[in-house]
C-alpha cells in the first residue's frame, strides 16, 4: 500500500510499504477513505517529540471502511464505515472502565512502555502514528490501517454522511470538546482560548455550546481569527495588543474565569521568556517552550480554571508555580478520552448542532501529503486543516 512515512526532521515521504494484516483477535483492518494532518503531527515533523524511527507511518486522524475483522471482534462487520479514535484503548482495564481511555493501561506494548514509565512515572497509553513512546503503531495517513482493540474504539457512521462531517471525531473535535468540558463552565463565565488552530476553534465552539457567556480567542493569523469570530468569539491578535491587559480590561478587571491553552509547546512570540526558552530548548536545558501557558496562568482570574489540551512532552523552565498556588487555580489537562466523547459528539453532528467542515482549507491526494505537511507548517494562515484522500491506484 501507499503510506506517508517519517524519514527525519522535515522529511516525510509517501512510499510503498507492506499492507497491514490482522495480528490479534480483536483487530480490524480499515480501508482508509479520509485522513487528516493534525497540528500535533507537526511536533513529529519538527522532531520535537523523540522516539521516532525511519519509516514510521504517521497519522492519527482517519476513517474508512472495515475490510477485515479478527475472530475476537464481535462488534464490527465488514463493510461498515467507521471513524477511528487516535487513542488506542483496551476497554477492560481500570482506567478504561473509568472512561479514562487515554490512560489505558494495556494498549502500549510491554517492550515499548519503558521510556514513558521512566519519563512520566507510569507507562502511557498507545496512539496511532505517534512515535514509539506511545506504542509505535502505524498511523492512518495510508491506504490501510490495522486497528487493535477495534471492538472498543471505532464508531460506526450512518450511511449518507460525508466523511468531512465526521472525520474530526477521531481527535480534534473531542479534543476541543474535552478542553471546554475541563473548564467546568458555569453561567456567566468568560472563557479565553489561546490558539485558533483546529483544537482551539473546536474548543471555542464547544465552550459556547456548553454555556459560556463569552469566549475570547487569541492568535495572530488573520484567517484563523476570522474563523474564531465566525464561531461567535471576540478575538485578540497578540501582535497587536497586550494580551494580559486586554483580557483584564475586557473582563472589567476580573480576568477570564477559565483559560484554555490550545497552543502547547509550539508557542510563538518574541517575548523575553520565549526567547530564553528558545535558547534553553536549543541547548537541552529544557524541552518545552511554555510562553502561552505562562500567560494563561497570569491571565486567569483568581480561583479560576485552566484547561490544557495543547501538547507538551517534557519539562519546562520558569514555570510560575507561585501564581498558580497563590491564585488558587485549578488545572485539568491530558490527551483526549476520545472513546468517551465520540457518541454524544456524533449525535451533535448528525443533529447539525456542530459543523466541522468550515475548518477544512485543503483537500489533497495522499500522494501529495509531504507538500501538505510543508504548507500546514509554513502557511498556517491559509492552511487551517488538510484532509488527505488515498487514490487506490494499486487496488
Amino acid at each position: 500500500m501507499r503510506a506517508l512515512t517519517w524519514q527525519g526532521k522535515h522529511d516525510v515521504r509517501v512510499e510503498t510499504v507492506a499492507d497491514p494484516q490482522i495480528v490479534n483477535p480483536r483487530d480490524a483492518i480499515i480501508r482508509i477513505t479520509s485522513t487528516a494532518i493534525c497540528g500535533s503531527d507537526l511536533h513529529l515533523y519538527d522532531h520535537t517529540i523523540p522516539g521516532m524511527k525511519h519509516g514510521d507511518i504517521l497519522g492519527h486522524e482517519f476513517m474508512g471502511e472495515v475490510v477485515e475483522v479478527g475472530s475476537g471482534n464481535k462488534k464490527l462487520k465488514v463493510g461498515q464505515r467507521v471513524v477511528v479514535p487516535f487513542v488506542i484503548a483496551c476497554g477492560k482495564c481500570f482506567f478504561c472502565q473509568k472512561q479514562q481511555f487515554a490512560a489505558c493501561d494495556n494498549s502500549n506494548p510491554a517492550e515499548k512502555s519503558d521510556p514513558s514509565e521512566i519519563a512520566y512515572g507510569y507507562p502511557m497509553a498507545a496512539a496511532f502514528g505517534y512515535s514509539h513512546l506511545t506504542g509505535g503503531y502505524a498511523g492512518g495517513q495510508a491506504e490501510f490501517a490495522r486497528v487493535p482493540y477495534s471492538d472498543i474504539g471505532p464508531i460506526v457512521i450512518p450511511e449518507g454522511i460525508d466523511d468531512d462531517k465526521v472525520l474530526f471525531l477521531s481527535d480534534i473535535l473531542p479534543t476541543g470538546w474535552m478542553a471546554a468540558v475541563n473548564c467546568d463552565i458555569e453561567p456567566g463565565d468568560v472563557i479565553a482560548v489561546w490558539g485558533c488552530g483546529p483544537v482551539g476553534l473546536f474548543a471555542i465552539q464547544s465552550a459556547l455550546l456548553l454555556g459560556a457567556h463569552r469566549v475570547i480567542a487569541i492568535d495572530h493569523h488573520p484567517r484563523r481569527l476570522a474563523l474564531a469570530r465566525g464561531l461567535g468569539a471576540e478575538v485578540l491578535d497578540f501582535e497587536e495588543v497586550k494580551v494580559h491587559e486586554a483580557l483584564s480590561e475586557m473582563t472589567g478587571g476580573i480576568g477570564p474565569d477559565a483559560c484554555i491553552d490550545a497552543v502547547g509547546m509550539e508557542s510563538h512570540g518574541m517575548s523575553p521568556d520565549n526567547m530564553l526558552d528558545h535558547v534553553k530548548v536549543a541547548t537541552f536545558l529544557a524541552t518545552d517552550r511554555v510562553h502561552a501557558l505562562r500567560q494563561v496562568i497570569l491571565a486567569t482570574r483568581k480561583g479560576g480554571r485552566i484547561s490544557i489540551p495543547g501538547v507538551y512532552g517534557g519539562v519546562a523552565d520558569k514555570f510560575p508555580i507561585g501564581a498558580l498556588m497563590e491564585k488558587g487555580l485549578q488545572i485539568k489537562s491530558g490527551q483526549t478520552h476520545v472513546q468517551k466523547f465520540m457518541p454524544e459528539l456524533l449525535d451533535l453532528v448528525l443533529d447539525d448542532k456542530i459543523d466541522t467542515t468550515f475548518l477544512i482549507s485543503h483537500r489533497l491526494d495522499l500522494e501529495d501529503a509531504a507538500e501538505g505537511y510543508r504548507n500546514f507548517k509554513e502557511k498556517q494562515n491559509e492552511y487551517t486543516k488538510v484532509v488527505l484522500k488515498p487514490r487506490y491506484t494499486r487496488h
Binding site: K92, Q97, S107, N108, S113
Partner: protein
Amino acid sequence: MAKRSPTDIHSDAPATTFKDPNPAGTGLSTDSDDSGDLIGRTVTINAPRQALYAFWRDFRNLPLFMENIESVQVFDERRSHWMVKGPADSTVEWDAVIVEDVPGECIAWSTTDEAEVPNSGRIEFRDTTNGRGTQVSVNIVYDPPVGKLGKAVAKLFGREPNIQARHDLRRFKQLMETGEIPTSAMNPETIEE
C-alpha cells in the same frame, strides 16, 4: 550498608521497595542465605483472583507472556522442567518444584539443588479492598553465578532484571484483561520478541 533488623523498619511497604532490599523479607529463600538479587513488582489486574491463579498455576502457560522462557514441561503436581533462552542461542535449563501452593492465593517455586542458576519465585493474588480486581505481586530471587553462566543469567533475566520482570508481568496483565498481548506489528511475521 548493614541489613536492617525487623525492629528498625518503619515503612508499610514491600521488601522490594526498600533502598536496601532484603530478600529475606519476602519469605523467599535462596541457596546462599539472603545474598541473592531480588526482583519484585505488583500490578492490579481487573479479573477474578481464582482465574488468575488458575492460569499461572499451569506453568505451561508461562511462555505465553514470559519473554525468555521457551517452554515449561510439567511432570506432576509439584515438579516441572524449564527451558530458558540463554546468550548466543544457548538454552539454560533447570528443574523446579512447587514449595507452596494455596489455591487462589499464592504459588511459590524453587529450583532443585543441582540447578546451575538457582532461583526461586513467589506470586501472590489478593482481592483489592476497593473493588479494582486483583493485586498480583511477583517476587523472584536468584543467585547470579560467576563467569560464563553469570552472563547467561544476566541475559536470562534481561539486562535489567527488574525491567524483564516488569515486562513479563505487564504482558500477563494484558493477556488476562484483554485476551491478547498488544503489539504494534503490521503483520504476524513482524511481531517483536
